[in-house]
């Protein structure tokens, strides 16, 4: 039997595509070689957030006295990891339920494009079968990128997977790379008492963020006890002893760092090998699959979404691409009346869930100037926020950037308590093409961190009340 849609990979790209397809009346199958839910639910977004919550609880206990609570506590590493796995398993089971509910056939095994409209799936037992579909959506995601100097052995030089299920807590850990993943692990291990050193090749940590964010985060993480080496590069790692010895080229010469393990967190490599792209002649470029704005590849009937295509390697991007891809297919099939709207990749929020949290969307100040905008910038420190003070977490700020000429909201960059929860307002405001005027006239509740967005806009326009 031929499906309307066959999805290869069940991450937040694949499983969302399958559900939306089924919803729109397309008969759908999904192929997964490992666990439903992909990296995100099993080895990414969700289990890391569970680990981070444990760290946060422990940090609160360390500071309990400041809140008038007399407390002592110590982390149980094994229990923390176990809880994280439990949360991941629960979410993965949730996807299983959703597949059943939406009458999506799940085929377990490794899939590869075989011919036009055909995917060959090799099961755990070695047997193969052909799954046929008119439209095939490749959503095979990504994996930890490997650097030549940091060949992962899974024991002493590890990737994110191993980092979240270590058999015991490392006394010390070197984290290479300071994107969201590296910083989250660094924060987690430092919080529960491991000695953490972060090594970043570029001159500043979280390099995709606004420069002010990088500075503020570095200051805070250092205060928490994390060592940070920027403009530095691990050139080799000696794993022959009981731990590791990493040679690091820094701006001030070479240093050797010793630690129990090295975590390589230098980005994502797309899973595009061995899945038959060549067989059908699907074009790739710089290690990603080439697609148009509706996620069609150059080969009719083959689509690709998520971490294996260009664009931010984020779960919410994968899911939105999934919906657009499927709606475009359904539209072409006459099963959906709307033509979907393409993603504006400059209006995609990004979050880092350490403390202080980081959340941002749109142009950084530097990028806005580069693009030729004359900008109005407003920065509101959370030390002036009543809610942040009441919560005992007054670090950080909210920074907003507007176009001085037409009043467009170009970007928001935040660092502080709970800011990952308040970035959606900017995304929606930008989507609706607001100017500062309407946001100021939308009453923000007091006391919240979210009202600091309003305060920052007031600063940008010289109308600051609370500063």
């Amino acid at each position: 039997m031929a499906y309307d849609v066959v999805v290869l990979g069940s991450g937040p790209g694949g499983y969302v595509a399958a559900i939306r397809a089924s919803q729109l009346g397309l008969k759908t199958a999904i192929i997964e070689k490992e666990s439903l839910g992909g990296i995100c639910l099993n080895w990414g977004c969700i289990p890391t957030k569970a680990l981070l919550k444990s760290a946060q609880v422990y940090n609160d206990i360390k500071h309990a006295q400041e809140f008038g609570i007399e407390a002592t506590g110590k982390p149980n590493f094994e229990a923390i990891v176990k809880r994280s796995r439990g949360v991941a398993d629960k979410m993965s089971k949730g996807v299983q339920f959703l597949m059943r509910k939406n009458k999506i056939d799940v085929v377990m095994g490794f899939g590869a494009l075989k011919a036009k409209g055909q995917v060959e799936v090799k099961g755990a037992d070695g047997k193969t079968q052909i799954v046929e579909g008119k439209h095939i959506i490749v959503a095979t995601g990504g994996r930890s990128r490997e650097l030549p100097a940091l060949k992962q052995d899974g024991k002493k030089i590890i990737g994110y997977r191993e980092a979240m299920v270590l058999p015991q807590q490392p006394k010390s850990i070197i984290v290479v790379g300071s994107g969201a993943i590296g910083i989250e692990f660094g924060y987690f291990y430092n919080s529960i008492g491991s000695k953490v050193t972060v090594v970043e090749f570029l001159p500043r940590i979280v390099p995709v963020e606004d420069e002010d964010i990088s500075k503020e985060l570095e200051k805070n993480l250092k205060k928490q006890g994390i060592d940070i080496l920027t403009s530095s590069e691990v050139t080799s790692v000696d794993t022959s002893g009981s731990g590791v010895k990493a040679k690091v080229k820094t701006a001030n010469g070479e240093v050797v760092l010793e630690a129990d393990v090295v975590l390589s967190a230098v980005g994502v490599a797309a899973n595009i090998e061995g899945i038959g792209l060549e067989t059908l002649g699907v074009k790739t470029e710089k290690g990603k699959i080439n697609v148009d704005k509706f996620y069609k590849t150059n080969v009719a009937g083959v689509y690709a979404i998520g971490d294996c295509v260009p664009g931010q390697a984020l779960a919410h991007v994968a899911s939105k691409e999934a919906i657009i891809c499927v709606e475009a297919i359904a539209h072409a099939e006459g099963k959906y009346k709307h033509q979907p709207e393409a993603i504006d990749y400059n209006n995609v929020p990004g979050c880092t869930y350490c403390y202080p949290e980081v959340a941002s969307v749109g142009f950084t100040e530097a990028k806005a100037k580069e693009a030729g905008y004359e900008v109005k910038v407003g920065k509101f420190p959370l030390s002036a926020s009543g809610k942040a003070s009441a919560a005992g977490h007054a670090e950080g700020f909210v920074k907003v950037i507007f176009d001085a000429k037409y009043g467009e909201w170009l970007g928001t960059h935040m660092i502080g308590y709970n800011v990952t929860e308040i970035i959606s307002e900017t995304v929606v405001g930008r989507k609706l093409e607001t100017t500062y005027h309407e946001v100021l006239n939308a009453i923000h509740p007091h006391p919240t961190i979210s009202e600091s967005v309003k305060d920052a806009i007031e600063v940008a326009y010289g109308e600051a009340i609370h500063l």
């Binding site: 709207e341 000429k405 037409y406 009043g407 467009e408 609706l432 093409e433 607001t434 100017t435 005027h437 309407e438």
Partner: protein, 63 residues
Amino acid sequence: KKEVKSHTGKFYSPLVLNIAAQESIPLSELERIEGTGNDGRVTKNDLLDYIASRSKKEVSLPV
């Protein structure tokens, strides 16, 4: 700078209205622009494209 529903019932975002006001584009002219947004709504980019093409036309006019 208020959200205004024009007489043809078209909706313009605050930003579009702001740009139109600053570039001296009257509502009647705004209404002739074809939108690419949801249900044909004129977006910021539609308007900026329109302004760009309009000024190009002006430049290329024979003296």
